[in-house]
Amino acid sequence: MDARYEPKILALICTYCTYTAADMAGSLRLQYPPNVRVVKLLCTGKVDVLHLLAAFKAGADAVMVSGCEIGDCHFLEGNLRAKERVAHAKQLLAEIGLEPERLEMFHIGASDAPQWAKAVEMMTRRARVLGPSPLRKSEAAATPAEGVAA
């Protein structure tokens, strides 16, 4: 029996911008893949490198961190810190042999619902191509999706 691999994506998103956009995407009934689990934070500046590593330990196939656009952070610099931490965490993932592309930083403004939908689509597609995280707790016949273009 062939079960299609469904990526599990964790999204750490900020209240003021990305969450608002995601909420509006819902109101607008925009269609996008359901693979994302959202964790709402006040600000992406709260995200620590340790959280990102913990997400992969918990079995996430991909992790998105999404905050305000540069210059618009409600807490001034939180999104800049998040951006640097995500970049550093990508290096740490590469060191241990996990694809750094599984982690990505986004900047999505409050009114940018379509951007949110696009970002989730892009990340889900990427996660399908990369395949399930080797750290995933084993699932019955989890296999990479067939015939999906990058």
Partner: protein, 226 residues
């Protein structure tokens, strides 16, 4: 302060590969300040090693602990109980701390997670510069507060070599010639006369062997009694 940097991950992973239960021990003083081996770094490294172990299919568990510093026995004592429950300790202290920890647990493998680099200063966020080579014969008073032993690759103490180009060192066009700086510093403070006397050959006898330094007030305590 002592500056150190984390060893390449692959080298650390290799060193711990054979052990099932590893305690990653951070140090809260110098290496925490230079973001190499403090509590945060110990946590991140343990998480990485844990994930890497899983990827390699190894049965390994990594715990973390952190003490104020690893160069004082009173702090190492706090780790005694936890150490007994592990089959290796990965110390993120400088070389001195790693050794002190190893001396305290001679039958337990103690591994080093950092490369100790130099005595230095915090130049900027995330940037540290070497300033001292612990030569045991400080001549900073003579040279206007610029150390020629450290800041000159050749350790020249009687003035510059002939390689200075526009005040920069022959080893690197971005590096100031230490003697250019010394000369300017002394000139600006009217102390060029400091440079007249020939500085005789340095005494390296103290700086080369593992040293012991006893404070004058304690000499009597440690001297033999007749």
């Amino acid at each position: 302060m002592i500056v150190a940097e984390r060893k390449p991950f692959a080298e650390i992973a290799q060193a711990v590969a054979g052990y099932r239960r590893v305690l990653v021990v951070g140090c809260g003083t110098c290496v925490a300040v230079c973001l190499a081996g403090g509590e945060k770094e110990a946590g991140i490294l343990a998480a990485q090693l844990d994930l890497a172990g899983q990827l390699a299919g190894r049965d390994q568990r990594f715990a973390t602990a952190c003490v104020e510093r690893q160069c004082d026995r009173e702090f190492l004592a706090e780790l005694d109980a936890a150490a007994r429950e592990h089959d290796a300790l990965l110390s993120l202290a400088c070389g001195a701390g790693v050794q002190f920890l190893a001396e305290r647990h001679p039958t337990l493998p103690v591994l080093a997670g950092l490369n100790t680099t130099f005595i230095g200063v915090n130049q900027d966020v995330g940037v540290w510069d070497e300033r001292c080579r612990a030569c045991s014969d400080c001549l900073l008073s003579l040279t206007g507060g610029v150390c020629p032993v450290t800041m000159c690759p050749k350790g020249m103490v009687n003035g510059p070599c002939g390689g200075a180009v526009d005040g920069h060192c022959e080893t690197d066009p971005e590096r100031d010639c230490a003697w250019t700086v010394i000369h300017a510093r002394l000139a600006d403070s009217g102390r060029l006369a400091n440079l007249e006397a020939l500085v005789p050959p340095r005494d390296h006898s103290r700086a080369n062997l593992p040293g012991r330094q006893t404070h004058a007030a304690y000499l009597r305590r440690y001297s033999s009694h007749d």
